[in-house]
């Protein structure tokens, strides 16, 4: 029974989004580490992941969400302003990092709140 509770859509979705957020921070760290490496191309989570997740979420099938894969891809579309071909823009990466951190915080808080609500329901104490 408790397994069913943890397999609810909101937990599965939050878990997947936390994973993506973690991977995104990894990618941003790589980009900022290589901000001055000649020829480096920035990496990011594949851009169609969000659309895929939205589609999976609307299908009402939890396993579809948990089976959804995401990949880190090299971003060749961003133009490079530097002669050596490096296309990392430090300000953009910093912004992405802040945005991603807030998203992670929201998801962590959301998961905690959901769990504490569950605890309240079980124990009957507020």
């Amino acid at each position: 029974m408790i397994d069913d509770l943890m397999q609810r859509e909101n937990y599965v979705l939050a878990k997947k989004l936390l994973d993506v957020s973690h991977a995104k921070q990894n990618a941003i760290a790589s980009n900022l580490a290589n901000v001055e490496t000649p020829g480096y191309k920035r990496i990011d989570i594949q851009s169609d992941f969000e659309a895929n997740l939205r589609k999976a979420a609307s299908s009402n099938d939890v396993s579809e969400i948990s089976n959804l894969q995401f990949r880190t891809v090299t971003d060749l579309s961003t133009p490079s302003v530097r002669a050596d071909g490096n296309n990392v823009q430090i300000d953009q990466e910093m912004l992405r990092m802040q945005k991603n951190a807030i998203q992670y915080e929201f998801l962590a808080n959301y998961t905690s709140t959901s769990l504490s609500r569950l605890k309240t329901a079980i124990s009957g104490r507020v």
């Binding site: 936390l18 957020s21 973690h22 991977a23 921070q25 990894n26 990618a27 941003i28 760290a29 790589s30 900022l32 580490a33 290589n34 901000v35 001055e36 490496t37 000649p38 020829g39 480096y40 990496i43 894969q69 880190t72 430090i90 990466e93 910093m94 990092m97 802040q98 951190a101 992670y104 915080e105 962590a108 808080n109 998961t111 905690s112 709140t113 769990l115 504490s116």
Partner: protein, 143 residues
């Protein structure tokens, strides 16, 4: 999976940027050194960065997770000739009174120094954010 996302990439970057600053400091310190251990004027040192692939382990589906760090490929020597100035009183002056100065350009070095310190700061910010994320992950279920 690492609890602090991106920390391996950032660690290598901090190390590389610090080495770069060391080299810049060495160049500035020797901006007027006309005679090194080999009897020649000091030659400017340069640092070359390259990306290195870090393997972070596998995710639940068995796919290898990777990130990229930065590696100092080589510390090179800038072999270009430094300026020749007329200073017959200098102990390293040749028979015509000309002295070969190091090929260090202080303006270039200062620009490089600022760029290195900004990159270092950006990477420190990554450490702070990653730590925050790790703490939030550890607090899940506590509140």
């Amino acid at each position: 999976m690492n609890i602090m996302p991106g920390i391996d990439s950032t660690a290598s970057a901090l190390q590389a940027e610090k080495l770069r600053m060391d080299i810049i400091g060495q160049n500035i310190a020797n901006a007027h050194t006309t005679r090194g251990p080999d009897g020649q004027p000091y030659k400017r040192q340069t640092v070359q960065f390259e990306a290195k692939l870090l393997e972070l382990g596998r995710d639940q589906n068995g796919n290898m997770q990777t990130a990229q760090g930065v590696n100092v490929r080589a510390v090179g020597t800038d072999e270009s000739a430094g300026p020749l100035v007329y200073n017959p009183g200098h102990p390293d002056a040749d028979e015509k009174g000309m002295v070969r100065l190091p090929n260090v350009n202080l303006t270039h070095e200062m620009v490089d120094l600022i760029s290195a310190s900004r990159s270092y700061e950006a990477n420190l910010q990554v450490v702070r954010t990653s730590r925050q994320m790790a703490q939030q992950a550890l607090r899940i279920g506590k509140a």
